[in-house]
Symmetry: D2
Subunit: 365 residues, 4 copies
């Protein structure tokens, strides 16, 4: 109930602070006999790792993951998989006044209010560093999903600047430092972010994550709807302020005719949807269409510009946060969003398996 675990059948628990000796997680509910070794996880961590471009924090962490349990001779055994990453680059320093001050937009004030104590070093437990373990757990989730289900995230907006849908190129996503599918937008963003950084400011972003190949039937109808679990998964990522499925907020503006995705029988004799306003989820259950999730990330709160705040003794202060901060934390949220989507799907895949509900699709014809 202290909330450091996520998932039902596929369930992981994370621990660790930004400036402690290590961070880690325990992944429980991993089915046995899946091939799993450190590179299967490391490849995803490398995508999230800071210090890779001038647009992400310059903290240099190798983020080398070790598997401490749950595998034997290269296969999972059904026992919990413990993962750990040592914190290398903590840069211990004198925190000075900052340790008693509440940085605007940070969790400093609320942690103090909740616990009456806080580890102020690097944000402690509230650091985005925690998301590394989501990415690691996501690597295991992908093993459960198998190759037939693919997941890809992309940055579709920085500040007020959105991509052109018409320019979407899946391959472009891996080519620029923004996970941007629109090469022209990527070029604009480079300039935009250079300027933001120069001004010691920051900017928000919107991420879209897609899953293809998801069978119909995943998700529980009432409270553990697939979209409800996805909303929780994404909103639990640091700095996220909004989540949408399919048409999302735009759905409010649509007519019933526009919104309800019509169906035909495809050439393969299978159900075929003619549109995907639903984002692949109807009544909380996957329809077999692509799952489409979008989420908004607020601008980094750590900025150079001095901001008014208070300290824990009730003094009014001015706070500025020098140092190595991402001008746009949304960029690194892309692999995290992908991981959370994989995790939710893996969980519901196992749940559906438990039901033993034969038909993954209606008996047709």
């Amino acid at each position: 109930m202290a909330g450091n675990s996520f998932g039902g059948l596929f369930r992981f628990t994370t621990w660790g602070e930004s400036h402690g000796p290590a961070i880690g997680c325990v992944v429980d509910g991993v089915p046995p006999r899946l091939p799993l070794a450190e590179p299967d996880i490391q490849r995803w961590l490398d995508r999230r790792r800071p210090g890779q471009s001038k647009f992400t924090t310059q903290r240099r962490e190798p983020d080398q993951v070790r598997i401490l349990s749950g595998t034997f001779e290269g296969l999972t055994t059904g026992a919990p998989v413990a993962l750990v990453i040592d914190n290398v680059d903590q840069r211990s320093k004198d925190y000075g006044a900052i340790k008693d001050q509440f940085r605007p937009g940070h969790a400093d004030f609320t942690y103090q209010a909740k616990y009456g104590i806080r580890d102020y070093r690097g944000g402690g437990r509230a650091s985005a560093r925690e998301t590394a373990m989501r990415v690691a757990a996501g690597g295991i989730a992908r093993k459960i999903l198998g190759d037939a289900i693919t997941i890809q995230g992309a940055l579709i907006q920085i500040g007020a600047d959105r991509i052109e849908r018409a320019n979407w190129d899946g391959n472009e996503v891996e080519r620029n430092p923004f996970w941007c599918p629109d090469a022209k937008a990527a070029a604009r963003w480079e300039a935009l972010l250079m300027d933001v950084r120069k001004r010691g400011s920051s900017v928000g972003a919107v991420i879209e994550v897609l899953a293809s190949g998801v069978p119909a039937g995943l998700g529980e109808p009432a409270y553990d709807k697939l979209d409800a679990d996805l909303a929780k998964a994404m909103m639990s990522i640091n700095a996220v302020k909004g989540v949408e499925i399919g048409a999302g907020f735009k759905a409010a503006e649509l007519s019933g005719e526009e919104n309800a995705d019509e169906m035909r029988i495809g050439n393969d004799g299978r159900p075929l949807f003619l549109s995907n306003q639903a984002g692949g989820i109807l009544g909380g259950i996957s329809s077999g269409q692509d799952i489409v999730v979008r989420f908004a990330v607020k601008p980094t709160s750590s900025i150079l510009t001095p901001r008014r705040s208070i300290d824990r003794f009730g003094n009014e202060v001015l706070v500025s946060t020098p140092g190595r901060h991402d001008p746009c934390v949304g960029i690194r949220a892309v692999p995290v969003g992908e991981a959370m989507l994989a995790i939710v799907l893996a969980d519901h895949l196992l749940r559906q398996r438990a039901l033993g509900a034969g038909p993954a699709a209606p008996e047709l014809g």
Copy 2:
């Protein structure tokens, strides 16, 4: 894991289908010695009840709730509170072809895919009727929150027509059939919905729910963040496609300076925020500011206009859904959103109590 329960310490489980004999819920974790009788719940149900205006479904249900357990001499005992509402107006009828057809935008297809069977009468378990029990459970949650915490929802957009923030009048919300805080918008919506209904169409909406008086310190940092639980709570409501906290998707467009709410010491010697982009939640924990949640509801899928679909035998069909349907289901979602907000807050209030964390706010001065 079948997902018909919600909450941690304050936890309720709902059951029932649209056309079964009754719907109900069990609310577990209700603290003892709270005054509780049926009118305490009925008053909220009456706000959600269909058939109250020409803009909501004409199904006429008295929705009379009965408490079957958990109270004694007008007080809760700590035992589970069972609530039940008999289904009166089921209007049994010949379902004809519809029982094998998948209505576009409905859960018909996905229920069939998941379970290989479905109760097609009135949408079965997928009916919005399930939300009555959320409202009922919300009535109990409000007892836990007490009078110091107030919750109010409002409809802020129908179709593409939004309210003017400047026109916001809290009292107006109870005066029109839309829970609209802007009297001018309410007037426009009346015409808009008459037109929608005439065309046999439907339209979506956006709801905003606020909680005032929430103490700082509620919420768990990592996965059970207060906003993550709220996102799940709202997204689990039928037809919801998007959820925002505070500035929400707009936060992506803000600069770090604009977004981070500055703080001062108020005249009462307490922390004072100068803005509320965060929507009352920082790092997943309440800050003491108003909690602000917004969610988008898609247009009703049940429309008169025939739409292309298939049936479960693989035939291509045309489906139209005559009958008593809300042109805008978003209207009735207002009390449901209020209830879910109350439920999430009550749950986290109990969780925080368990921590025994003394200071609800930092030691100031």
Copy 3:
């Protein structure tokens, strides 16, 4: 967390007090397309029903169960199954002094201590009446287990009088009012209980429950061991004070040689155990042998003999409990124990299915 639910994937929640309008439960996680109607549950309830012999309480309850949700045209739909039994024979009466007194051996004192309020009528929530809903949920669990898994309980000891193992006759269990497999012991118990009742006293009992046909592989290794879940299941039944698996406490007296069940290959080419000290569970996981669980039930606390106690005002009082009480509540615990065994097995069967772990038994030969 208020503890009125039991199980993981197969999960039920009970509610209701002895003298309220009804008792009920919600069973969630029932797989779809199982044939289920009221008689499937009623047959088990009839075994537990009070008032059936002179040795059980004379409260006369028809205990007629109704299914309010989760089935359609005689099959489960995957939606939660709500069951309810109206309380018919509450015999409202003047509770007099008893409402403030703590009956020795009852939960009166501890409920008051925990909640600061209690429903004193008929024991309220602490009444053995709650176990009816375990039996009802057990009826659904048996549907999941199917016919290949059989469960039978038996009373093997009343007071200090134990059955002779050599006299065990499975058919005898259904022939006497004690569920006793030893006809000679049953005869003795008839006299024994007549005497106990005459003296206004009561006596304890030991129950043994067996499950045959359980596949190897059910149970989770560490904390949700099959035996750990069974221990919780049985100990949660009112008045139970001890639980054993297989050799149980006797295992403490055995040598390693005696205790470790040897294995051979049976004539059918399958693993064959030469003894069953383990009670069918090794390392928390079923071995394919019979599951053997035993539990001890204390004597009914409600007795005629006056006993010293206190009331909630701190007065010392004498309490005697006249009325219709079982001289041996252990008798009616037999069907309850069977139900709890069925429930635990059904839950772990679904969990194992989720793992998708192919081989229910090792690859032999």
Copy 4:
């Protein structure tokens, strides 16, 4: 659901295999601002550590615990506490035939049946080594309980040889290698175990664990009864086959008069029980009396004497297990039982706090 976690509000998750690089756990739900450092945990681990006497396994593990998260400047922060112990003495070796054979009485067969794969080195996840982490988590639980609640375990039976209750001396428990409160029994056991060891055999044991100072009101009435959770906690310890509360199985032989503990008002004006057949728990809720739990441990399955078994290819084999094994694993189960009792109490203490139920005891006088 894979069962490597235990507890509700105080919840820990363990991981690790006997011969992996390390074992560990994550303890979530630890209230903030508790003093906690490694020695607070190490002192309990030292009691459980193998290699301390000739009667426990000669595996030499320093079992040095490290805290990797959740504390700051010597206090808990409310964040999850990660603990890790490196495995030092794995003695890698050629496992030869044993890797395919099922040792009678071990989990070898059932792990293979469940998962289709197993880590055979030192028992893998099924090793008693896992219990070290229960002891570690128990150290944190004791911090929550505070000094007013004391817990002490004792060995009260080895094989068929029981202590004399009249000889009970609490101080004696720490003086002999058996945690035996009866000096005379301890002397007999020394000879008994020397003989058992000489014969390459093993023997079972019974442990009793007591908690004093527990307030009335802990535990949930129906399924999470305090005794039900204790039964699960103890039965989940490796090799445990039976659990009793208070009079336990003996309660079956008692009359209602003998069994129901009478009450008076003590000299301090507080409720006073005249006996404790209930073991401190009535209706699943603590009464304020001592909590008394007993559990039976089977004899070590790893014995020198060859036993008949099979291997995973279906061959009949003879298995003997040379090496460093405890002749009586029950001895080391004493600190584990203490830890599990502390853990269950800490969990229910937090749950009760959440209820905010004022009176820990009835309003008297």
